[in-house]
């Protein structure tokens, strides 16, 4: 059910002409310039400034020319207002450092004083963007493969396969949630999102391994029982610790979500979702699938 919803979200994202990818790609993958500005006023006491106003001003900027390239037109840039209008985030086509500087200077001249110590400019060239995307996908696949190899070495092929199924399930649902967030709230995925996926994958396997380890350990003493009952006993015995281990990992993440500031917010959310889902799949999904597959391999 959750998987279907996730897939649906990603398909909808892909069909959406403005996104045309399973997830809404952020600056890291598309390339571009993001400028964060802090206005010199107390939060709440800033003069009103609307997104449309800023966009209009951006469209009128003249930028220094860079080499042979035409300077880009900024009128259709993304603008976001944070902290009651105190912080302004601009999403622009990739600019040179000179041009970025010019945007900040002219913005400051036209839309009121800025605190320069609070400015951040981040530019990622389009070629680097596609490279980052490639590197992210490769590191995802390599880590999945390496984990599967290790599990099949320590346990057996069926365990490794099921661990991979769980892992794919956790990663899929995390992606699905972000596809929906991208569709509905415009949440973008960046290279930190890939990091969170890989961490979720590692963690999901860790969780699953605890249950498997128990099944293997008692398979000697409970050998006379059918596999499904062996699994029940193992899940029963490990239920509390599975919940507790997830909880102790979620607690620091909640710290990051509530107090960690905007730069790590979605990263922590992705990790929290993945770990919550991973804990369910290691208790609910992996053990239920095991009898199905062991029965087949025994036959």
């Amino acid at each position: 059910m959750a998987c279907t919803l996730s897939l649906l979200g990603m398909v909808l994202c892909w069909l959406n002409p403005t996104i045309a990818a399973p997830l809404l790609p952020g600056l890291d993958f598309t390339g571009g310039t993001q400028i964060q500005l802090e206005r010199a006023c107390a939060p709440g006491a800033c003069s009103a400034l609307t997104v449309a106003q800023i966009q209009a001003q951006l469209g009128g900027l003249t930028l220094p020319q860079e080499g042979q390239d035409r300077s880009p037109n900024l009128s259709s840039s993304g603008v976001q207002l944070l902290d009651a209008g105190k912080t302004v985030v601009l999403r622009l086509p990739a600019l040179s450092p000179d041009q970025g500087r010019a945007v900040v200077d002219q913005f400051s001249a036209r839309l009121g004083p800025l605190r320069t110590e609070g400015t951040a400019i981040n530019t990622i060239g389009p070629t680097l963007g596609s490279r980052l995307l490639q590197a992210s996908l490769i590191s995802l696949l390599v880590s999945f493969a390496a984990i599967a190899a290790y599990i099949s070495f320590r346990y057996n092929g069926v365990f490794a396969f099921l661990a991979l199924v769980c892992l794919a399930h956790d990663v899929l649902i995390t992606c699905g949630v972000f596809a929906w967030l991208g569709l509905l709230r415009g949440v973008e995925v960046d290279s930190l999102f890939t990091v969170s996926l890989i961490t979720v994958a590692g963690y999901s396997v860790t969780d699953t391994v605890v249950v498997y380890d128990r099944i293997r350990e008692q398979s000697k003493s409970l050998a006379q029982l059918p596999v499904s009952e062996q699994v029940d006993v193992a899940v029963d015995a490990t239920l509390t610790r599975s919940l507790y281990t997830s909880l102790t990992t979620l607690l620091p993440l909640f710290g990051l979500i509530f107090f960690g500031g905007s730069s790590l917010f979605w990263f922590a959310v992705a990790l929290a979702i993945g770990i919550a889902v991973g804990s369910w799949s290691s208790i609910g999904l992996a053990p239920t699938l095991l009898p199905l597959f062991s029965a087949r391999s025994a036959r």
């Binding site: 220094p64 970025g100 609070g118 590191s139 605890v210 281990t245 620091p252 710290g255």
Partner: protein
């Protein structure tokens, strides 16, 4: 018990040395935490070179190192990344545009003589160039005139100038864009009137700058080596008195065109020195001087990533992550103490040791701490607690089945070991994948998580066990009710 005390002394010694390391070395903070700029430069293949290799990357780095030294930026670091990228970090620098300008251009300087028989064409092109440049300068915002008029020309005049050059003008382009287009075309035509480069930046031994005797503008002075001096003399002799120009070309743009007087007809300009007076500002002259001294880049570079973070934003990042970290850890500590009682408190103690060791390792290995790195640290704390949970659950289980306390603790540790090890090992695998395949910030996360996981194997299995065993030597603490509620104990005990 002697063995436990030995371990305890060892752990204590480790803790003290960790504190000392941390105190003396401090932590290296990334630019996102302390403020500053970072530029990523990609070396582009050119000419016969299709694929950039290590050696060429080092050659480019040498040149860039010299240029950075010339700029005189404090504390900057330039590192190679992979096979074709360089990362320049400028701590404390908020405006990377100057560094970008100086580092990002090839700075290939060429002296080229105008071909004979092209005098008339050149005259027309140079006039056009001067006009376009002066109009552009007047429409550019300066500190004195922050908002100059956007347009100074009649559209028809501009179109008349463009037409003979064969430039198609899009009706929506601004005047500045059209003039830029015009200048590009004029430059292309001027270049086609030049002969081959007879003298290049390689023949230079020195570069300097001086203010011109008239006006505010600066010129860049050049000193040639012996061979270069002879070539320069030959070059100037060939055009002396003819009215043809000597073109000085920088990175494919003609930056200065000079005529040579008839008095140099016999020997050319000798003495092995020259100056470029291309209407430079003080800063532009200094930048060119730095570039020429450092030499031209063997391969062109492109700036693919620029990050700059203001200092107060960095401080804000430190503050929020400290808050997040302590809130998260506080919650975990509370949870452990409530659920696991005495061993829970022991685990909180070992976790504090764990955090201390982690930071000491960052400090000793000079790991640069970035925002994702801090996230990795916080997450690794969460995973380190997992190991304790697995152990204590096992201990409880043994107690419930009627084992004695000491025995339960020992069995708990040995039975939990294999799942702890497997779990940590898969985590380490993910970290390795992230470290070797990821880039920049991703690497920072992988490093701290890797250190955290490896360390947690040690602290969970050694520190927790030692502390717990040590406490068990006090009879007052050796009560199963310190481990789980009385009603869960088998009545026999």
């Amino acid at each position: 018990m002697g063995r436990q005390q030995g371990w305890f002394a060892f752990i204590l010694a480790l803790a003290i040395s960790a504190a000392v390391i941390l105190y003396t070395n401090g932590l290296r903070l990334g630019l996102d935490l302390r403020g500053g700029s970072q530029l990523t430069l990609q070396v582009m293949p050119a000419g016969a070179i299709k694929q950039v290799d290590r050696q060429q990357l080092e050659a480019v780095k040498d040149v860039l190192d010299r240029r950075i030294n010339g700029l005189g930026v404090a504390e900057s670091t330039l590192q190679t990344v992979g096979n074709d990228q360089l990362v320049l970090q400028l701590p404390g620098e908020q405006d990377p545009s100057r560094a970008a300008k100086v580092l990002g251009t090839t700075a290939l300087l060429e002296f080229r003589a105008q071909k004979p028989g092209t005098e008339k064409q050149m005259q027309g092109l140079l006039t056009l160039k001067r006009q376009a440049e002066s109009i552009l300068a007047a429409t550019r915002p300066t500190p004195e005139t922050p908002s100059p008029p956007a347009s100074l020309l009649k559209a028809a005049d501009l179109a008349k100038a463009m037409a003979p050059l064969g430039i198609k003008v899009s009706p929506t382009a601004s005047e500045a864009d059209q003039l830029d287009q015009l200048l590009n075309e004029v430059n292309r035509r001027i270049l086609s009137l030049y002969g081959p480069p007879l003298l290049t930046g390689r023949d230079l031994t020195s570069a300097g700058r001086q203010q011109q005797s008239s006006g505010n503008s600066w010129e860049v002075t050049l000193g040639f080596d012996r061979a270069g001096g002879e070539k320069f003399a030959g070059l100037t002799q060939s055009i002396a008195g003819t009215g043809r120009v000597l073109g000085i070309v920088l990175d494919g743009r003609s930056i200065s065109e000079a005529t040579v007087g008839p008095q140099f007809k016999t020997a050319g300009i000798t003495g092995g020195s020259a100056s470029i007076s291309g209407n430079f500002t003080a800063e532009a002259a200094r930048d060119l001087e730095v570039q020429l001294r450092g030499g031209s880049l063997p391969l062109p570079v492109k700036i693919v990533e620029v990050k700059s973070v203001g200092p107060s934003l960095g401080a804000e990042n430190i503050r929020t992550s400290l808050l997040a970290g302590s809130a998260g850890l506080g919650l975990v500590a509370l949870f452990m103490a409530v659920v696991y009682r005495l061993p829970g408190i022991v685990s909180v103690l070992t976790l504090s040791l764990y955090a201390l060791f982690n930071l000491a390792i960052y400090s000793a290995l000079q790991v640069t701490l970035t925002l994702p790195g801090i996230a990795g640290f916080i997450l690794s704390v969460g995973m380190a607690v997992d190991a304790n949970v697995l152990i204590f659950e096992r201990v409880k289980e043994e107690l419930r089945s009627g084992n004695t306390l000491i025995r339960s603790i020992d069995t708990g540790f040995s039975l939990a070991f294999s799942s702890i090890f497997d779990g940590h090992f898969t985590g380490l695998i993910s970290c390795l994948a992230l470290f070797f395949l990821g880039t920049g910030l991703v690497k920072g996360f992988a490093v701290t998580l890797f250190i955290g996981l490896a360390l947690s194997l040690f602290t969970a299995l050694t520190c927790t066990r030692t502390l717990l065993r040590l406490l068990m030597s006090y009879p007052g603490l050796r009560r199963p009710t310190n481990f789980l509620p009385a009603r869960q104990l088998p009545s026999a005990l």
